[in-house]
C-alpha cells in the first residue's frame, strides 16, 4: 500500500479552504499550517499563466526527515505516511532543516508537527479533511497500488510533476499540470 495525493493545478482556485479545513480538523494553532497554497505567475501581460498548488508534506519515500531524526519520533507507518510521535520528539529541529519543502513546523507546545495525511480519517476509510472540503474537487487521495483509487485514476490520464525532484526525496504529492 502506498498513499499519495494528486493535486489538479488546473482546477485549484487557490481559495485556501484546504488550509482552513486542516486547521479546524487537526486543531492546528493559529499562525501555523500543515498545508498552504502557492501561486506561480509566469509570462508577461497579456500572455500570462497562473499555476496554483495546494502543498503539504510529500510523505516522501526517501524521507530525509525520518533519517535525520535522532530519537525516532519521525517515522514511517503503513502506507508510507510519515508521522511524528509527539512524546518522542525533543524539538531539535533537525527534521525541519532536512525537509526541502518546509513542510514541518515547530508546534508552540514544543514538538514538531506536520501533515499526517489525516491518518485518523484515512484509517476509517475517509478522505483527508482537505480532500473532502475542496470545492473544486482538485485533490485526489488514495493508494497508488490500487489502480481504482482516486489518486491512481487521476494520475492515469494526466501529465504530472513532483516538486524539487532533484532533492532526491521521492515525494508522493503529484501535481497534475
Amino acid at each position: 500500500m502506498r498513499y499519495a495525493m494528486a493535486i489538479d493545478t488546473k482546477k485549484c482556485v487557490g481559495c485556501g479552504d484546504c488550509v482552513v479545513a486542516c486547521q479546524t480538523e487537526n486543531n492546528v494553532p493559529h499562525g501555523y499550517c500543515r498545508d498552504w497554497i502557492v501561486e506561480n505567475v509566469s509570462g508577461s501581460y497579456p500572455s500570462v499563466q497562473i499555476e496554483l498548488r495546494s502543498e503539504r508534506c510529500n510523505h516522501c519515500d526517501n524521507a530525509p526527515c525520518v533519517r535525520c531524526c535522532p530519537t525516532g519520533a519521525s517515522h514511517i507507518v503503513e502506507g508510507g505516511i510519515v508521522l511524528v510521535t509527539h512524546d518522542e520528539c525533543i524539538g531539535c529541529g533537525a527534521c525541519i532543516e532536512s525537509c526541502p519543502y518546509d513542510a514541518r513546523y515547530p508546534h508552540p507546545e514544543g514538538y514538531v508537527d506536520k501533515c499526517t495525511f489525516c491518518k485518523h480519517r484515512v484509517d476509517k476509510g475517509q478522505n483527508p479533511a482537505c480532500v473532502d472540503v475542496c470545492p473544486t474537487h482538485c485533490l485526489h487521495f488514495g493508494d497508488l497500488d490500487d489502480p481504482n483509487s482516486d489518486v491512481s485514476k487521476a494520475l492515469k490520464n494526466r501529465k504530472w510533476k513532483v516538486l524539487a525532484p532533484e532533492a532526491g526525496t521521492e515525494p508522493q504529492l503529484y501535481f497534475l499540470t
Binding site: 506561480n40 530525509p64 530519537t71 529541529g93 532533492a167
Partner: protein, 313 residues
C-alpha cells in the same frame, strides 16, 4: 516577470519567509564541539606517539578546555531544544542515519572521558593534589597505567566528533549550501585548527609552539584549498547552488565571510604564523585569537546562510 507567492498567508515563526530554526546555539555548539575535538585529538595523538614530555600544554593544560567546551556546547544544544522535557529520548535509541543521534552519543562518551583525562593529570599539574577518596585514587592509577589505550579510544571519538560537526550540516540535502561533501572535511580541518590555536594560545613552550604552528599552517592551507573547491563546486552546480554561493558573492554574507572568515580568520593568521616561523616577532596571542574568532564566525555564517538557501519558492 516571474512571481511565486503564498496565497494562503503562510507566515510560520522561524520558518517563513526564511528558515531560522537554528539560532546561535547550534553554531556555538558546533564550534565548541570542533574545538574540543581538535584539542583532544592532538592531546591523544601526542600521548600515543609518546611525546607527552615535549608537548606538555597540548597533553595536559589545554585539555582542561575540552570538557568545559563540551559541557557548554551541550548546554547550548539543550537550550535550543523546543521540547526539552523529552531530552532523554535521545538516549533511548541510536540512529545511525541521524548525525544528531550519533553526535549525541559521541558527546555522551567523550565528555566524561575528557573529564577523566584532565583529572588523571591533576596530580602532575597541581602538585599536592589528592582525590580524598581511595577508590578515586585507585581509578586514577588504573587510568594512568592504561593511558595509551584510553588515548586511542578518545582519539577515535575525537575524530568522530570532528567529522560529526561537519557532517551534521552536510547531511541536509534540503539546504543547497550545506549539501556538499566538502563541508565535512572542511569543518573537521577547521575544528582541528581552532583546537591547535587554543593550545598555542596557552603554550609557553617555544618548541611546542613551533611544532603546532607548523601543523596549523598546513591545516589553514588545506582549509583554504577546500573553500576554493567548495565554491568551484557551487558555481558548477545547479541554479540553487549558484544562488547559494551568491549569498557570499555579493549577497548579504559577503562581508562577514570574506573579511572575517577568509581574511582575518585564515589568510592573515596564516601569514603571521609563516612570519613567526621565519623568526619574525609576532604577538603570541594574535594568530590564535584570529583563528578562534574566524572559526566561530565561520560556523555562524554557515548555519545562518545555509538555512536561507532552498530548493523552492
Amino acid at each position: 516577470m516571474k512571481e511565486e507567492l503564498f496565497v494562503s498567508g503562510r507566515d510560520i515563526p522561524n520558518i517563513d519567509p526564511y528558515l531560522h530554526i537554528w539560532h546561535w546555539q547550534i553554531p556555538l555548539y558546533l564550534y565548541l564541539g570542533g574545538l574540543a575535538a581538535g584539542i583532544l585529538f592532538f592531546a591523544t595523538y601526542y600521548v600515543i606517539k609518546g611525546k607527552e614530555k615535549q608537548m606538555q600544554t597540548t597533553v595536559k593544560w589545554a585539555t582542561i578546555i575540552a570538557p568545559i567546551a563540551l559541557v557548554i556546547g551541550l548546554g547550548a544544544l539543550f537550550w535550543d531544544l523546543k521540547h526539552k522535557l523529552y531530552f532523554w529520548q535521545l538516549y533511548t535509541t541510536i540512529r545511525f542515519t541521524s548525525p544528531m543521534s550519533w553526535g549525541a552519543w559521541t558527546l555522551m562518551l567523550i565528555t566524561p572521558m575528557s573529564i577523566v583525562w584532565v583529572a588523571s593529570y591533576m596530580k602532575e599539574m597541581i602538585p599536592g593534589w589528592d582525590w580524598k577518596f581511595g577508590f578515586l585514587n585507585k581509578f586514577e592509577v588504573w587510568i594512568i597505567k592504561n593511558r595509551v589505550p584510553f588515548a586511542w579510544i578518545m582519539m577515535i571519538l575525537a575524530v568522530i566528533l570532528g567529522v560529526y560537526t561537519g557532517i551534521l550540516l552536510s547531511a541536509f540535502n534540503a539546504r543547497p549550501l550545506w549539501n556538499t561533501s566538502i563541508l565535512g572535511p572542511l569543518f573537521l580541518t577547521s575544528g582541528l585548527s581552532t583546537g591547535l590555536a587554543a593550545i598555542m594560545w596557552m603554550s609557553k613552550d617555544e618548541h611546542e609552539r613551533k611544532t603546532l604552528n607548523r601543523i596549523d599552517l598546513i591545516l589553514i592551507l588545506v582549509e583554504l584549498f577546500l573553500i576554493i573547491h567548495l565554491f568551484m563546486g557551487f558555481m558548477a552546480g545547479s541554479a540553487v547552488k549558484t544562488e547559494a554561493a551568491s549569498l557570499f558573492l555579493g549577497g548579504e554574507f559577503t562581508v562577514s565571510f570574506w573579511v572575517f572568515v577568509i581574511i582575518l580568520g585564515l589568510a592573515f593568521p596564516a601569514t603571521l604564523e609563516a612570519l613567526e616561523l621565519r623568526g619574525f616577532h609576532v604577538p603570541a596571542w594574535l594568530p590564535p585569537f584570529l583563528i578562534l574568532f574566524g572559526g566561530l564566525v565561520f560556523r555562524f555564517v554557515m548555519v545562518e546562510a545555509g538555512q536561507i538557501t532552498r530548493f523552492l519558492y
